[in-house]
Amino acid sequence: MPQVPADNPAASTARAHSSAAAAWWGRLHGFGPVLGLLLLCIAGTLLNGNFATYDNVMNVLTRTAFIGIIAVGMCFVIISGGIDLSVGSMAALIAGSVILFMNAMAPVLGSPIAAVAAGMLLAVALGAVFGLVHGLLITKGRIEPFIVTLGTLGIFRAYLTYFSNGGAITLENELSDIYSPVYYANLLGVPIPVWVFLLVAVLGAVILNRTAYGRYVQAIGSNEQVALYAAVDVHRIKILTYMLLGVCVGIATLLYVPRLGSASPTTGLLWELEAIAAVIVGGTVLKGGAGSIAGTVVGAILLSVISNILNLTSIISVYLNAAVQGFVIIAVAFMQRGRR
């Protein structure tokens, strides 16, 4: 426990409670989105009997995995009082770089499997490096995270467009065949990306609620000055937080690439907003200080369920899809107001 004076009401939430209470807090926090998700699922089943089929549920969860994994990392960044607008572009650039790398390395290494494995490692490493750059610019460079990541949002996507000449970067067939099980294969009847999503979420929850680092992240988000006086190494914690998000983006990307085996300038478009929305819908406060990984997971699933239901019915005009999503997001946020 960091020795932080508990006289700051905003800062008291996360630290005044023991970790058990914090977990309970997360559950309470997650209640709004859980209720919203339940209502949506009931509506979906009533509108179309196929909604509740096992295959559809797995399709939706697998799709959610990318945004969900990124949202777990985003949850840490937002709790620490920061933001990252570049994750969609970062995912696109990592996807493109990894595909180019695999295509180039397969003949060099002489083994397509080794090339795929190396590419997967590269995805995570690139994510960590990009996160490190963000963290350094934000802490040592003292630039607002909003501005830094707005800048890199443009930089990352522009470089992908440059590498691909604006077209698509496509994985060679032989590699694609080896790599595709990472997205398409099942383990115990559940697709691999869903397992990875679960693992990342559980790890995230443990790190946030059961480690000193997790408590420092919350402390910095509640009150950076107080955390600083309490001898928390604010810069190091912040840099680690952006790196953690970068690693999450890397993991999401290495699951994403085998799906279509290609990256184009439209890859990962607006993922940053979806990830931020998942975190906020899940009950984390945008100004930082406290949040919940469980809520974030539910928030991410909720967002994909909305578009899935819209695809499974024809009663709502296709022009209104975005409006329906907007209404649901606002309604769920409304259910858990008063937590500010």
Binding site: N59, T161, G166, R259, L260, N308, N311, L312, S314, V318
Partner: protein
């Protein structure tokens, strides 16, 4: 919005003094015999626009080589406001005598283009028509009606006039509506063909994958898919492969992306039997036609339609450009 832009620009310009005032007098000040062609196109955000950028730069390279003294300036924009700004820059800074524009949006760019034309600059509009045709001298367009009609006819014939079809749409634009209306008009003549649904997938591979997954969940029997774009067809094929569905006999894309044309030539996918041309190369033709006409001091016909044609295995070779990003 645009008036505001002009206003701020004017503020900036007035500060820059007399030199700019001369520039504002427009191309009359420029040497009469020199042709400067400004090309304003959308930036490369998906394969098709990447093709547009590629062919525009090809046209620049070829034309400047063939006609010394001719200058071609290519500008790419990420949105309508940016494109409107570029038009002003092309006029005031680059002093163009001719403009070839692929408008980002029809309505938003009508006024800015009209202002360019009012300066005596020759304007060719490509693909997305303006809402007021008096703002242009010539119009060159891809054939959106045929783009929807040809797949409709092909699917109806392939299914012998009976079966279930799903469609994927691009982004809600007039051009997308034209294609969909043409497709629907064909299906009206074949009462045995049922269009189960048509959802937007934004000309995007990932969105198409999701929409197709949900179609497959929802409809137990689908005979053919009109993916309406080769990028979307990529996502559709993956979703079908994942669901291991055998009921679908045909996936019809569109625009003749090189990957799909290659699939046609090789016959490597039984679901891909035909395509419809809508090549980004028409920007090349438009720039070439306009520049060469202006060099001779001639005019183009008011409307030129680059026809969309059916591509099958037999004629696929002539639609294959391996060097283009599209």
């Amino acid at each position: 919005m645009n008036s505001k832009l002009t206003f701020t620009r004017r503020l900036a310009l007035s500060a820059m003094g007399a030199a700019v005032a001369l520039a504002l007098a427009g191309p009359a000040m420029a040497q009469a015999n020199k042709v400067v062609v400004g090309v304003a196109i959308p930036s490369a955000t998906h394969s098709f626009t990447a093709g547009i950028v590629y062919w525009a730069n090809q046209a620049k390279a070829d034309l400047e080589k063939a006609h010394p003294g001719l200058q071609v300036i290519v500008k790419t924009a990420g949105g309508a406001p940016e494109q409107a700004n570029q038009l002003q820059d092309l006029v005031t800074v680059n002093k163009i005598t001719t403009l070839v524009i692929f408008p980002f949006e029809s309505a938003a760019l009508t006024k800015p283009v009209a202002q360019v034309k009012a300066r005596g600059i020759y304007v060719t509009v490509v693909d997305r028509g303006l809402t007021d045709t008096s703002a242009q001298d010539a119009y060159v367009a891809g054939d959106n009606t045929a783009f929807g009609k040809i797949p409709g006819e092909y699917i109806a014939k392939a299914l012998n006039g009976k079966g279930n079809v799903v469609a994927l749409r691009g982004i809600a634009t007039t051009l997308d509506n034209e294609r969909m209306d043409a497709f629907n008009a064909v299906l009206k003549q074949h009462p045995g063909i049922k269009l189960l649904d048509a959802k937007y997938a934004n000309w995007n591979r990932d969105d198409a994958f999701k929409v197709m997954q949900d179609y497959l969940t929802r409809f137990p029997q689908i005979d053919a898919v009109w993916a309406a774009d080769d990028d979307m067809a990529v996502g559709v094929l993956k979703a079908i492969e994942q669901a291991r569905r055998k009921d679908i006999k045909l996936v019809f894309g569109g625009a003749g992306a090189k990957g799909m044309i290659k699939t046609l030539i090789d016959g490597s996918n039984p679901l891909i039997q035909a395509n419809v041309s809508y090549s980004p190369k028409f920007i090349y033709d438009s720039i070439k036609l306009t520049a060469e006409a202006r060099l001779k001091g001639e005019k183009l016909p008011p409307t030129t339609i680059i026809p969309s044609v059916l591509i099958t295995k037999d004629n696929a070779k002539s639609f294959y450009f391996p060097d283009s990003p599209f």
